[in-house]
Structure formats: structure tokens, C-alpha cells
């Protein structure tokens, strides 16, 4: 089974394993330069730590993450047609306006909410029921509770 970078110290027993290994920190650095808000990809082990599958699944579904005194809500964002996505902390925005502004900047294109438009990209989201919905219809707080991920659709879709 695949083992993540952080587990590479299994074989050496007297290494101070509190610091990340050199290869891990350079991976972090290069990733943070190209994808500012992406956490490094880690392969998840299914047999460590020793918790039951039910708890593991519950935690996987967890969206709110502690970071210091704040919380973050990281969701994946994909631009239709582009295979590599981004990750975005929705808690960093005050509402739909700042979200759209930031996304437009991130993807270097104009993105709107609401009405279909043959010229602009439209922002959609997947809710907790698995349905794809138009962003902007519900109050921002409610949106935060239900959003699972975002997708920026191509203009000609509609």
C-alpha cells in the first residue's frame, strides 16, 4: 500500500521525527508558490491511525478545519475543461462578491453568479445532496453549510 512522505521515517528509529524531512519541505515550498491555497497532497493510509472505518469516513467528510484560532472551510474549485483544480478557503470571504472577485482573479477570467450568460463563466456548486446548483441563490451562511465543491462552467454550456 502507498505510504505518504510523512511516514518515510518508519525504518529509522532514532531520527528526530518532529521536523519534516528535507524532501517534504521542498515539496511544500514549490507547491505553495504555484498553488497558494493548496495543502500538499497526502496519500491517506487506511490502517493508521488505528480508528474504525466509520470514524475515518466521518472525519473525511469533515469540512471545517481548525487553524490556530480561526476555522477554514476548504473546498475544491475546478474550471471546466481544466483537469487540475484549486483549493479555496471559503471562510476567508465575507460573501459572494468577494468570492467572485477572488475567483475571477485566480482564474484570470470574468466569473459571475446567477443568470446564464453566453459570454461569462458561471459559478456553480455541489451541495450536500450531491446536486449541482447555481451559486448566489441562498444566503451566504447557508451556502457555507451546504457547499461541497465549486465548478466554473464554460460560457457556451448554456
Amino acid at each position: 500500500m502507498d505510504v505518504s512522505n510523512s511516514c518515510s521515517s518508519f525504518s529509522s528509529s532514532s531520527v528526530d521525527s518532529t521536523k519534516p524531512s528535507p524532501s517534504e519541505s521542498s515539496v511544500n515550498l514549490s507547491l505553495s508558490l504555484t498553488f497558494p491555497s493548496t495543502s500538499p497532497q497526502r496519500e491517506a493510509r487506511q490502517d493508521w491511525p488505528p480508528i474504525t472505518s466509520r470514524l475515518r469516513d466521518t472525519l473525511k467528510g469533515r469540512r471545517l478545519i481548525r487553524r490556530g484560532n480561526d476555522t477554514s472551510l476548504f473546498v475544491k474549485v475546478y474550471m471546466e475543461g481544466v483537469p487540475i483544480g484549486r483549493k479555496l478557503d471559503l471562510c476567508a470571504f465575507s460573501g459572494y462578491e468577494s468570492l467572485l472577485e477572488n475567483l475571477s482573479h485566480m482564474f484570470d477570467t470574468s466569473i459571475i453568479c446567477g443568470n446564464r450568460d453566453r459570454k461569462h463563466h458561471v459559478l456553480t456548486y455541489e451541495d450536500k445532496d450531491g446536486d449541482w446548483m447555481m451559486v448566489g441563490d441562498i444566503p451566504w451562511d447557508m451556502f457555507l453549510e451546504t457547499v461541497r465543491r465549486l465548478k466554473i462552467t464554460r460560457p457556451e454550456r448554456y
Partner: protein
């Protein structure tokens, strides 16, 4: 005693309840063995492959309650493949054929099918109680058979099972005449629930004491359910994600206030934190609280709730409570006996800000004098902390510490944690169960072998240096029943040093260690009363008999004592030597 008629002796035996004691009684003399046999009502079988159903029924024909355990403990962590074994069907078939008056069946880590449940429901007229823990292989159709056919059902308790939810109407299958339910737990069901059927069932079950809902039961339904069951002692809340409107919240509060018998609370699978205050009124009565699935609730909300639970004896929680929260627990819950702190960040997504550390553990040990069982997941630990904990709490029966990063040393001194765990085993003379973690050498096992005289179960992961470690344990811990080891450098020398020892234990598990095929073969050679199983799922590694490399390391070894020889139901990737 032999001057008394059998009935009198039997009456005396009725007062002896524990399995160990009853087993001892049956060894006294032939006459007692016979009387005990026919009067035994409850039988506990820790390993379903140690004995077979025919012999069980032959010895205890009057049994009413059977407990069976199947897969080894590490199966909980995906280390045992699904089809490994532990099938309950042959047991139910045999019991049905022999017309045993079965009333209660408790299964753990077994494979249960809809067919077995159907057979169970039809074969025993007086069947009252079904408890399934960490089982798999069945669907809600099987539950429907139980509901339909078990006329006197009192208990249906499903804990942590993998159940295929067909979204059927199993709750509807309880006939209107069914009014005997005392306990109903379906928290692990993933699909929708027929809430109306559930409400009708609860309304006609005046004896219902324990009700645990799944995530599909919404807030307003919860309020109605609690209103018609104010006698509840044990409640598992489903989920309610959105903040409730004031009216629903008020209804919930009113319903909860009436539940003055409520002592145990669990669930909260997906909860909007603002719903928690509805439970504040009954917190002072709670003795058990399980919030280990409440992944979305942050520390400060948890703390507010726990501050009110002054009578708490059992607390299961996520590490999002933080050291700060554990200090509050230590100050508030003076009756605490059992604490479990589970990790909330298993993918290492969060910053290195540790959720709970040695600070929380020491605080708990200092503040809770009655603490005897602990399971603690954390990112760091120190010897000094463990030594302090040992001094504060010499009464531990169960001590399980899991440091998330394997081989992690004392984060202040960078030394191994041998001394810390050594202090624990030396101070806690009644210790029966221990799990160790972090950076550990053979020394810790020397301490365990020397001091842990009552130890019955030991879990080792990523620890030790040489075979000596395992030998210290096998030679020293005379009461060891279950030893499970993974990713540790113990090999054939340790495995083969005292083969007879394994017949005094229930089982030994070794995975990703240094034992080889040759070693296992030698072990199996002179041990007719041991089943030595090699589990090798990797297709490429499976060689033909004549190409075998005896020096090849064994992926997973599971051996256990048995009086019925090799089992016939093993899948192809399990080789029994």
C-alpha cells in the same frame, strides 16, 4: 456439597454468573461438571474458530444466550480482508437444528448475512435480543425479517456495522402487536428512515429505555420522539445541520426537559452547534457522553456542554476539545472513570498546532481520581508526563496511548518513551490492557514483562529493536491472552522460543514483522491445537508449493488455539499451516 441434591447445587450455581467462575466450577469434579453443564444459560466464545457449534450444543444444551467473536481486533483497522471468515450461519443452523431455546445472540466482528438473520428470526420462538457489533454482510432486508418474525423482541442493537441500506421499510415490519422493545439502536444505518413508522413504534413501546437514531432523523422528529418517550435513559441523536428556527428549538427544549431519566447521550452526527443548548437542562444527570462523531462541533461549544456534566463517568470525544477543554473536564467531571479522545485530523491537513498533548493527559490524571480506562490519541508525548500520570492514577485497568506519528520520541528530550510507559506498568498493578506507541526500544518490553503481571491484552505498533522485546513480554506476562503486533522487528527467534505458550493465550497477531514462512511452518509442525494462518492478499507473492521460499517474510500471521483443528471456510489467500 455432594450431600445435597443436584437441584440445590444448581440453585447455588445460579448465583455464579461470570464465565470464568463457571468454568472453574466445572473443573471441580464430574458431578459438578455435569450440573454446571445443564444449568449454563450464557456462553461466551471469544474466538468462533476455537470450538464448533456441535460441541458447544453438546456441552451446553440448555443455553439461552450466546456471545461469539470472529475476526481479530486489528480487523477494525482494515488489516484483515473482508472475506477472511467469521461466518455466523453455521452456528445459527446448528442451533436451529438442535432446537436450542436461544433468546439472545451477541456477535462481534462476524459476517452475518440476510439469510442468517432470516433463519434466526424463524427458528427461535422466544428470541429476545440481538446485538451486532462491527459486523458486516447483511442489509436492511435482514433487519426486516427480525422485525417481522421475532414476536418477543426486546433488543435490537446495531453498533458500528457495515449494513447495506436498501432504504426499505424495515421499521414498518414491526407488527402493531410489538410493544416489548427496550432497546433500539440503528445509528450506523446510512440511508433514510421511515420517520412515521419509527414514531409509531416508539409510541407503542412503553418500556423503551434506549433509542439511538441514524443521521436521517431530523430535528422536529427528534422532538416528537422524545415527547412520546420521556422515560428514555439512553439517547443517540441523529443529525440536524441547519440552525433550527426558534419554534422547533423551543419544542425540542420542552421535550428534552421532560426526559429526566436520560443518563446517556451520543450521536450528534452532523450537528449545527446552536442546537446543543437544547440539551443543557439534562446535562447534570448524564453519566455517559459520546461526542466522538460530532466532527463539526468546535472545542468551545463542546466545553460549554461538558461544563454542565458534573456527574459524567464516561466521556468519548474528539481532540478538537483541545488541552484547554481537557482541563475543563478535569475540573468538572470528578466522577470520570473512562475517557476516550479520538483524533480529528487523520490526514495531516491541519497546522502543527496539536489539538491535545501531554498537558491534557496530565490534567485529566490529576483531576479525575476515579479514572481507570483511557484511550488517548495525540501528536506528542513526554516521559515526564507519563511518569506524572502514573503517579496520579495508579488504578488504571486499561491504558491505551496512540501517538499519531510512528516512532515519535519524547518531544522535549528526544529520547524514547520507554521510561514513561515503564512508570505506567510499574504503578498500575491492576493493568489488564495496554497499547503502546511512539519511539520505543526493547527496554519498554523488559519493563512490561517485569511489572505488568495482570496484563491480558497488549497492542504493539512500530516499536522494539530485536526479538528480545517480544520475548520479554511472552516470558513475563503470564496472564497474556491477546497479543497483537504490527510493523515491529520481531522474528522467528521470538516466535518459536516457547510454542507451548500460545495454547495459554487466545491469539497472536503479527503483521509486517520479521517472521518468515519457514518459521511459521516450524511453529505449526508440532502444534495440533494451534491454527497458524498466513494471510497474503498480494497475488504476485503467492507462489506454487514447490517454489516456496521459506526465507520469505510473512505479511500477516494470525495464530490461535483451537480444539477443532483447521477450519474449512478460509478464502484462497489464507493459508493454514
Amino acid at each position: 456439597m455432594n450431600y445435597f441434591p443436584d437441584e440445590v447445587i444448581e440453585h447455588v450455581f445460579d448465583f455464579v454468573v461470570s464465565h470464568k467462575d463457571r468454568n472453574s466450577i466445572s473443573l471441580v469434579c464430574k458431578s459438578w461438571h455435569k450440573i454446571e453443564r445443564f444449568s449454563r444459560k450464557e456462553v461466551f466464545i471469544g474466538n468462533c474458530y476455537a470450538i464448533n457449534p456441535e460441541r458447544l450444543i453438546g456441552r451446553f444444551p440448555c443455553l439461552k444466550s450466546l456471545t461469539l467473536k470472529g475476526k481479530p481486533h486489528f480487523a477494525d483497522f482494515n488489516l484483515v480482508p473482508h472475506e477472511w471468515g467469521g461466518f455466523v450461519l453455521p452456528w445459527i443452523e446448528a442451533l436451529a437444528r438442535s432446537r436450542v431455546g436461544l433468546e439472545e445472540l451477541r456477535l462481534k466482528r462476524m459476517v452475518v448475512t440476510d439469510e442468517s438473520l432470516e433463519l434466526l428470526s424463524r427458528s427461535f420462538a422466544n428470541f429476545k435480543s440481538l446485538v451486532l457489533v462491527s459486523c458486516e454482510g447483511f442489509t436492511t432486508d435482514g433487519l426486516a425479517s427480525i422485525a417481522t418474525n421475532c414476536r418477543h423482541l426486546r433488543e435490537l442493537d446495531l453498533q458500528e456495522n457495515e449494513i447495506d441500506d436498501h432504504r426499505g421499510q424495515w421499521l414498518n415490519c414491526f407488527p402493531d402487536s410489538c410493544t416489548t422493545l427496550i432497546s433500539l439502536n440503528f445509528a450506523c444505518l446510512k440511508g433514510e428512515t421511515n420517520v412515521a413508522a419509527l414514531e409509531r413504534l416508539v409510541a407503542r413501546s412503553p418500556n423503551l429505555k434506549s433509542l439511538k437514531l441514524n443521521r436521517a432523523v431530523p430535528l422536529d422528529a427528534l422532538a416528537r420522539l422524545m415527547s412520546c418517550a420521556p422515560q428514555l435513559v439512553d439517547l443517540g441523536v441523529g443529525s440536524y445541520e441547519n440552525e433550527p428556527d426558534p419554534e422547533s428549538f423551543a419544542k425540542l427544549m420542552t421535550a428534552i426537559e421532560k426526559c429526566i431519566s436520560l443518563r446517556s447521550l451520543s450521536g450528534f452526527l452532523e450537528v449545527a452547534p446552536l442546537c446543543l443548548p437544547a440539551f443543557y437542562p439534562i446535562c447534570q444527570n448524564l453519566i455517559s457522553l459520546n461526542l466522538s462523531y460530532a466532527a463539526e462541533i468546535q472545542g468551545n461549544h463542546l466545553i460549554k456542554l461538558i461544563q454542565l456534566c458534573k456527574r459524567l463517568q464516561r466521556l468519548w470525544i474528539l481532540d478538537s476539545i483541545g488541552d484547554k477543554g481537557l482541563v475543563v473536564v478535569a475540573d468538572t467531571c470528578k466522577e470520570l472513570q473512562e475517557l476516550r479522545v479520538f483524533p480529528s485530523d487523520v490526514h495531516g491537513e491541519e497546522d502543527n498546532i496539536a489539538a491535545v498533548t501531554e498537558v491534557g493527559l496530565v490534567a485529566i490524571s490529576a483531576g479525575c481520581p476515579k479514572l481507570h480506562s483511557i484511550l488517548y490519541f495525540c501528536k506528542q508525548m513526554t516521559n515526564a508526563a507519563l511518569i506524572a500520570v502514573a503517579k496520579n492514577c495508579p488504578n488504571f485497568i486499561r491504558f491505551r496511548l496512540c501517538i499519531l506519528e510512528p516512532h515519535k520520541p519524547d518531544h522535549i528530550t528526544s529520547q524514547s518513551l520507554d521510561e514513561g510507559f515503564g512508570a505506567i506498568v510499574q504503578a498500575c498493578k491492576g493493568l489488564r490492557r495496554l497499547s503502546v506507541s511512539g519511539l520505543l526500544t526493547d527496554q519498554v518490553f523488559l519493563y512490561i514483562g517485569m511489572y505488568a503481571e495482570q496484563l491480558e491484552m497488549l497492542s504493539i505498533a512500530f516499536a522494539g529493536d530485536t526479538d528480545k522485546g517480544m520475548l520479554y513480554v511472552l516470558n513475563g506476562c503470564k496472564k497474556m491472552r491477546k497479543l497483537e503486533i504490527r510493523d515491529s522487528p520481531f522474528g522467528n527467534a521470538a516466535l518459536l522460543a516457547d510454542v507451548g505458550r500460545y495454547e495459554t493465550m487466545r491469539s497472536l497477531w503479527m503483521s509486517s514483522c520479521e517472521v518468515t514462512l519457514g518459521g511459521c511452518k516450524r511453529l505449526a509442525q508440532n502444534s495440533p491445537r494451534l491454527n497458524v494462518e498466513i494471510i497474503n492478499e498480494n497475488e504476485n507473492n503467492r507462489m506454487e508449493q514447490n517454489e516456496e521460499d521459506e526465507g520469505e517474510k510473512v505479511d500477516k500471521l494470525y495464530l490461535y488455539r483451537t480444539v477443532v483443528g483447521t477450519r474449512k471456510d478460509a478464502p484462497p489467500y489464507v493459508r493454514i499451516l
